[in-house]
Amino acid sequence: MTDELENLFKDLRTRTLGEIVPPGAPQARAVVRRRRGVAVSAGAGVTVAAILIGAGFGLYPGTGGDYAVGDAPSDGPSSSDFPVMPDPTGPEYDRATAAGGLLADRDKTPTSIRATQGVVAPDYENHVNDMAADKYAFRFFCVGPGTVQVVVKQGETGNTVLGQGTATCAAQNPEPLELTIRQPKYGYLRLFAVGDAAANGQAGFAFEFLSTTGKTFGGVSGAPTLSVSSSPSGG
């Protein structure tokens, strides 16, 4: 490998590592606990049904009974034996998907789009990296109950507010919160989304930044990806 190329990889690794803020292991455990709670509720219903019909049901790890902590250990597992588990399911994730479906049609949008979707949480924070100096049309959709307070700040730190507002959620065809965001210089944008009691854990959201001047990002445009409510989840 060329020394220069090797140095570029080292630089990529070093600089990126220095900027990544992991959501944290406690946050991962909290997500699992929340999902397990949902699974337990669903499992209780299955158990009642099983008793009523006199049949035994067993949750079988890896075949849809996802997120059951403490699967029975098997002999000689290897890291390549497990298939990728299914995506999390539930009405809140369906609403997040529905919100994502309201974003701009990428096949018909000439500029790159930075976007994501997720489930509303009381402390959602997203660091959007590599945002060029530009004027962006920002839209935030919320599907479900409640409202979400949204604030967009400049940079990875600091308290320079570039835009803020309240998104009102609705079960169908919600009106998006629309803001014009002027990013003064290349760098980060941070988005904070705080749901109210009705929205948290129930509503789904999606947001997008579109260049209003037709610029494109140097890398790959971000299509919606499921963001399991976290603080922060992006970088």
């Binding site: 570029l8 990889f9 699992v32 990728v84």
Partner: protein, 169 residues
């Protein structure tokens, strides 16, 4: 169990960043990289009693994260093609363009298997033999991918190109 929690926390702390860098280099989207690595760790924790018995639980997390990202990547492939087609006639982004952005953009032009080999070799620090095993191809094939990838990156980034001894086909 306390030991399980400690073990999970240690592995998370030691590998979250590196896995995110690898996914970012491969997919070009750090946002998505962070999300999928976090999701992969959630899935690992959900079955940590089993996972912690693996010889290399990190390999499992990497594989899940990679597959999650690939599934998302497939959904946006049409968009990427569209953007590439449009890019030459569109205004370019102003402001600083870090070298790493240029590297990630150059990586994005490589065939998937070449890009994957480069990331696993130079960011995940896997050996050629380990990459070959992971990809299910002969060692010589991986050497060929790495060699061609280096040439392509050197040309795109205007670098002098030399061959790493361990990767000579």
């Amino acid at each position: 169990m306390p030991n399980e929690t400690a073990s999970f926390d240690e592995i998370y702390a030691a590998h979250y960043g590196d896995l995110t860098v690898q996914l970012y280099a491969y997919f070009g989207d750090r946002q998505e990289a962070q999300d999928v690595v976090q999701e992969a760790f959630c899935r690992a924790y959900a079955r940590w009693r089993t996972m912690s018995r693996f010889d290399d639980p990190v390999a499992w997390v990497r594989r899940v994260a990679w597959n999650l990202a690939v599934s998302g990547w497939r959904r946006k492939r049409t968009v990427r093609t569209f953007l590439r087609r449009q890019r030459p006639i569109e205004p370019q982004v102003d402001g600083p363009q870090p070298e790493r952005v240029a590297l990630v953009a150059a990586l994005a032009t490589l065939p998937d298997n070449h890009r994957r080999a480069m990331v696993l070799r130079y960011l995940a620090d896997l050996t050629v033999a380990e990459i070959a095993e992971r990809e299910g191809v002969p060692v010589g094939t991986v050497k060929s991918w790495l060699s061609r990838a280096r040439q392509a990156l050197a040309a795109r980034l205007d670098l002098a190109e030399t061959t790493a001894p361990e990767e000579t086909p």
